[in-house]
Symmetry: C2
Subunit: 452 residues, 2 copies
Amino acid sequence: MPEITEQEYNQQRLQQVNEALGSGMFVYVRKLLQHMPAFDLALILESSPAKSRPVLWQLIDPDFHGEVLEELSEEVRKGILKSMRPEKLAAVAEGMDVDDLAEVLRTLPDSVYKEVLNSMDSQDRSRVETALSYEEDTAGGIMNTDTITLRPDVSVDVVLRYLRLKGELPESTDSFYVVDRNNHFIGAVSLAAIVTAKPEIIVSTLIDDDVEAVLAELTEQDVAQLFERHDWLSAPVIDQKGHLLGRITIDDVIDVIREEAEHSMMSMAGLDDEADTFAPVLKSTKQRSLWLGVNLITALMAVAVTSMFEGIFAQLAILAVLNSLVPSMGGVAGNQTLTLVIRGIALGHVGESNAKALLYKEAAIGFLNGIIWAVLIASVVAIWKQDLMLGGIIAFAMLMNMTAAGLAGVGIPLILKKMNIDPALAGSVIITTVTDVVGIFAFLGTATLLLT
Amino acid sequence: MPEITEQEYNQQRLQQVNEALGSGMFVYVRKLLQHMPAFDLALILESSPAKSRPVLWQLIDPDFHGEVLEELSEEVRKGILKSMRPEKLAAVAEGMDVDDLAEVLRTLPDSVYKEVLNSMDSQDRSRVETALSYEEDTAGGIMNTDTITLRPDVSVDVVLRYLRLKGELPESTDSFYVVDRNNHFIGAVSLAAIVTAKPEIIVSTLIDDDVEAVLAELTEQDVAQLFERHDWLSAPVIDQKGHLLGRITIDDVIDVIREEAEHSMMSMAGLDDEADTFAPVLKSTKQRSLWLGVNLITALMAVAVTSMFEGIFAQLAILAVLNSLVPSMGGVAGNQTLTLVIRGIALGHVGESNAKALLYKEAAIGFLNGIIWAVLIASVVAIWKQDLMLGGIIAFAMLMNMTAAGLAGVGIPLILKKMNIDPALAGSVIITTVTDVVGIFAFLGTATLLLT
């Protein structure tokens, strides 16, 4: 075990690969990549500039191509797929899991897609088509079809003999599914139950009550919550009529959990959660500019509000100097509350049932923090500028804006959610607009009333 | 399967529980809570105001207390533990997994801690003490000790007879560990290999080469990466001398992955990732005020820079009106880059080996987006105010600040990381300060030079 962390080790290896690539030592790069697991190969591809990726891809053993594609994030994968010819893709597709293959196929242009499907044997094709018939982000979309099924009336002894005959189990198999003659799902029997039961025991008596089948239409977020609730390692997927379709394994659920958690953070900065860190400059510029444009509009709203008070700056330039203070603090407070609420919604802690309680709580926190900073700022300004009135005005504006920030921080994401708009994406812009406008009005408005 | 989502279902149930609690219908609440899995009970506790939790806790079947404690987030758990007497705690401790119990014990005051430890039988105590001897966020801290060990020279038949005698396996057992007489770890044999092998096969020939033991001192982040790389469901933990200590299961790793992903988002808003959404107002106010204080300092720095140009506002009030525009856009651009880099660091994509390439890329994106918005804003201002020079000044400032934002967005988190400061926590404040100061200087400084 090395003394350095995994992260440092990865970085060192990455440097080695990219330096060798830069000096054109392709044979050496091929050798470096030869014995790496697919996860590491995906890491190297994602950590390299977009323009190096097709070369790296050529240097990776084609036997690993399928596995690496499974590990790659969507945007990076798309780039790789674009550089592959349909025949090569069809060859790679053969070794892939059904769920991952379906994901890959979804991103292909129609003509290539059909060519790949046609090159598959009919059994594999019908499996993939089943997966493709469900939405990408549902249980049906992330399931695999490699289940082992048992009849309810066989004995453990028969099962063991059957398994020995098979010689190998699909990856991550922790349960078998009991089905009737018509492939109706009856229940799950764990591998642990099979190995601890007496040989003469009948399978149907070993069914695990804690495992329920998941409907293929269920969203992947709901699937993830069921997995966490029951500490499942896998779960059977059924259709509306109760037929067994396949199973979902924990590794797919981990992807869902990670994506969900990342999604909030990335969305709050206006980034796509699949955003490729090393994408080409022009592509990234285009992706970011939309969000900057939206923010420009909110910044211009703040400017428009300020311009209503333009006349006062000629008399009292100090107001112009202090004008950014109240909106800035309100923005920070509002975004703190927003972040907390967005996480709460994602974890299922926050919803209509406790929205009101949370609204009161956050308004109260905003008010109390408003008092703290109002007093502090008022003292600083009163002493600095020898102007008690100015201190009072800024204190009042601070108190107003911090309370508004608390209310907006809870109210806006909940309203957005109700309107089916992603609060992580839109929340931050709207809250900043609210705290800008309230802050400027409260400060400059009060100042205009009292000081002129 | 209900037509509503899991989230809606949870919220409905939560409302039911809290309404019943509010009307003092304790018997009914107890009944509602009776058949819920521990995960759901934890969800209800975390989604309820802090003051209701001790009452709810009393109404939960004490047999579930241990499991619920395992599921709770740290801050909520601390609150519950405070309300429990040591004897009760000791009783609950008996049924808990070693890793979770160790986590609970770490948060207890010394006196209670010792009382709970003393009440345990010596075998359990020594297990917990082993877990406690490792740091909380290492492999040793999150491992369990409930492994099943096999000798290398026994046959599959003997293993099966042994397992039938045992009658039950520890939760989430997918592998057995082969050890020698001195408890030295030799390798792992999967349950799948045992059930598919012929009865006369010797265990040592079934060892899975893809499973390596994890050192107890390894950080939990490294453990999580190993699990993802190899798609493990569990992994053996050893000490420096190669003795088997226990095993880590995928459910603990999921917690690590979720916490890590949440940590970045929460830290960027200055929140603790264990922050309790429904904590008492005063506690939350105190927690948030620190961050607001830090931000006040950066806001005051912007004010100080602006005040250097106070004299110009009396002549040109329009500069005061437009002063927030350039810092605002720079702040948004800088935080976009920061978010991308923080995620990149967490995923292991970004480090010293590719820092330079990323720096160039983000500076280029900042420059290009700077041009877009500079031209746009300059046109708006030039038309609105009929002042070409003013438009030019704001365009220049925008271009400068957006480029600075790109550079700071990559450079600052990487420098912070090198200094062992969490970039997610400190990065956003520092970048906002940079874009504020650069933006104001570029805009007001240039304006002072050219317009007066």
